[in-house]
Symmetry: C2
Subunit: 181 residues, 2 copies
Amino acid sequence: MITRKEYEEAQSRAAEYLEKAGIVLSPEEKKSMEVAEFGLGDLYNIGLQLVVYVNNERYCAKELILFPHQTCPEHYHPDIDGRPGKQETFRCRWGTVYLFVPGEETPDPHVQPPKGRERYYTARHEIVLKPGDQYTLPPKTKHWFKAGDEGAIVSEFSSMSVDEKDVFTDPEVERTTKIIE
Amino acid sequence: MITRKEYEEAQSRAAEYLEKAGIVLSPEEKKSMEVAEFGLGDLYNIGLQLVVYVNNERYCAKELILFPHQTCPEHYHPDIDGRPGKQETFRCRWGTVYLFVPGEETPDPHVQPPKGRERYYTARHEIVLKPGDQYTLPPKTKHWFKAGDEGAIVSEFSSMSVDEKDVFTDPEVERTTKIIE
């Protein structure tokens, strides 16, 4: 959980990152930006900020904002009601993001999973995304990602998002952030 | 039709617009950028530059670049093989774009259809999109759009694109650009 003040601070800080990258939000988008704290009480270590531009039955587009060294924990997108799981394309717009997927373990990755929770980070093949680089994940692919020293902004293009159905490897992760007023 | 030199000049110029807006392309994307001349021989009046980031069965994302006062001619996206026509969301990233859709005619629009071809521009309800503004078009909606004085960059998020099936109001428009070597 997170206090309202912490939530709004993270929103403002993420809005500054977008501004640095030349990405303009509407006033409503700034207000409705999601801060995902993942229930672990350590937002600037394990967390993610999201702006959803559009999400309908056919497609979805978001901006993901990561603070320096912030990690989005390992998860996959399951099939839902017989529809294949979400497929997504990550395109780095600003900063550097390290994306980990299943496959041959990268021997000397640039970044490590969050300390103390390494066992919940099973995908160990590292893909480095800098501005202009992108990577498409097939449905049901376990993945996690972490920003470099500057933080990162990543555009996500995908089929419909149903975030609350995401399956996380870490059993303590909760996708929905509880805000204390 | 358009010469190879004209095609490459338009690509370079569009790449400069993206750079001004802080949008980074890979070297391959710069080379494969599409210049749509629409068969009318007047690219800087009726034309469009496109970078396709991803286009698959489930979703599509593109960057559309328009030079000052350049118009993308009126068209709609038909149903294909029993699948509903392409649905798309236009999000202005830079500059100003004037999008025209069916509905009440805007009495004093900011821009006009290309001279001499007005009869092929039947959608007359104007929507002004500036950076941070977006608009979603339902399938099979006739639409056209034109950039303002600075030009415009528009992100397009959509279901799968099958551009060659687009139906244009102007019978002389050809979606595929012929390049003279």
